[in-house]
Amino acid sequence: MRGLLFLGCTVPVRNLNYELSARKVAAALGLELVDDTALGCCGFPLKSADQAAALVIAARALARAARQELPLVALCSACAGTLAEAAHILDHHPEQRRAVEERLQPLGLSYRPGVEVRHFLRFILEQVGTEGLAAAMKRSLEGFRFAPHYGCHFLKPSEVTGGFDDPEDPGSLARLIRLTGAQAVDYATLKDCCGGGVLGADEELAARMAARKLLELNQMGVTALAVACPFCNVMYEGQQKTIAKRLETKLKVPVVYVTQILGLAMGYSPEELGLKLNRVKPKDLIKACKE
């Protein structure tokens, strides 16, 4: 199975550990991720000021995927969500689609319905299945406790992600984590938004949003918070120190990508999965996987 890899803006620059681990996991599962270096942005950052332009930008990516007859596989939840939503709008609103087509034409592109948009983790769950995934596991992570963070655009709006998982009672990431032998913990702020969306508008508010989850997990004590989106990573890992300072407390919540957890269980070394790029490192986990 092949997919057109959609890296987006942040991942290829700031979250190389995510990209590394995702590529490794795909390789271990026999999935081919095709690169298209010109894909660029998904359009999400423009939505609030000019959603029509954002839609054209997303449609551009969809059209490029259609040309190659490949599903679009995104690492960033916001990208996956924006692209999937764009496909939904283009398929359901003919007048918006006409407007988009007009603006795509000068680029030599044309939208064709039916392009599948998948977040990488959904892609592997659907393509490989839990049995296939279990078969790819080489190292048990038993004894480690991860707190899954689903974030917002991985599962919502559910009209667009359609039945893959229940955003109100999500379980897909926990399922992936449990496949490694590790424990997926349930916790009160499980469904909290990371606050990344308001970071530009109100830094203090964004920090308070992220802080709720960090405080809970800090007290609970977990191996790591497991994320699936570079935005969420920015808030929980990148901003962790700033948030701690703001709250005049100490926070030490390691943050890893779900792909890194899967990679470790598939037998890759922490090095190969870019764990040294993680800022708040799960030391015990790294140590255990070095042997």
Partner: protein
């Protein structure tokens, strides 16, 4: 005191006619969205229901000029719990688009457009970044800024350099 006779009854239709805003009028004020809004929980002056009500009342300027409308984290929780399918996240996107058209957008939104027009992505991928990528065994990344310039109708040369 809000006088309804001085409000703009057409405002809600304007929002409803903007993509994403279609659901605005169906709100029956059940408060489920507000209950699930994390932004609102932490910042009480922000309340999805309040923005909907002001819109329905026709408080055009108050809504469009409010800095609160830019605080949505687009987490879609409100849309998920709404029994009337108002889809507040999308409604607010429609409102923000109207606000931007009316000149109320925060400066960062213009900067975003310029960045995309220049780089095809928000973060620049230059030699330094690609070097780092190749050190890690990752393929090179480029951009296609021309496409973005065409879509956005911006040529980076014509635009003055960033103001701030």
């Amino acid at each position: 005191m809000i006088r309804l006779n001085q409000c703009d009854p057409a405002f809600k239709y304007e929002v409803a006619a903007t993509p994403g805003g279609e659901g605005i009028t169906t709100c029956f004020a059940c408060a489920a969205c507000s209950a699930r809004c994390l932004v609102g929980e932490l910042k009480p002056e922000y309340d999805p229901r309040r923005i909907i009500r002001l819109t329905l009342l026709g408080r055009r300027e108050e809504v469009l000029s409010s800095p609160l409308i830019w605080l949505c984290s687009t987490c879609y929780s409100c849309a998920e719990v709404c029994p009337q399918q108002v889809r507040f996240t999308d409604v607010l996107t429609a409102i923000k688009n109207l606000a931007a058209r009316a000149g109320y957008a925060p400066p960062s939104t213009r900067a975003t457009a310029r960045l995309l027009a220049r780089q095809g992505r928000l973060l620049e991928v230059g030699e330094f970044e690609n070097q780092k990528r190749s050190d890690l065994g990752l393929p090179q990344v480029e951009g296609a800024p021309e496409d973005f310039q065409r879509i956005l109708g911006i040529t980076p040369q014509a635009e003055p350099e960033e103001e701030a």
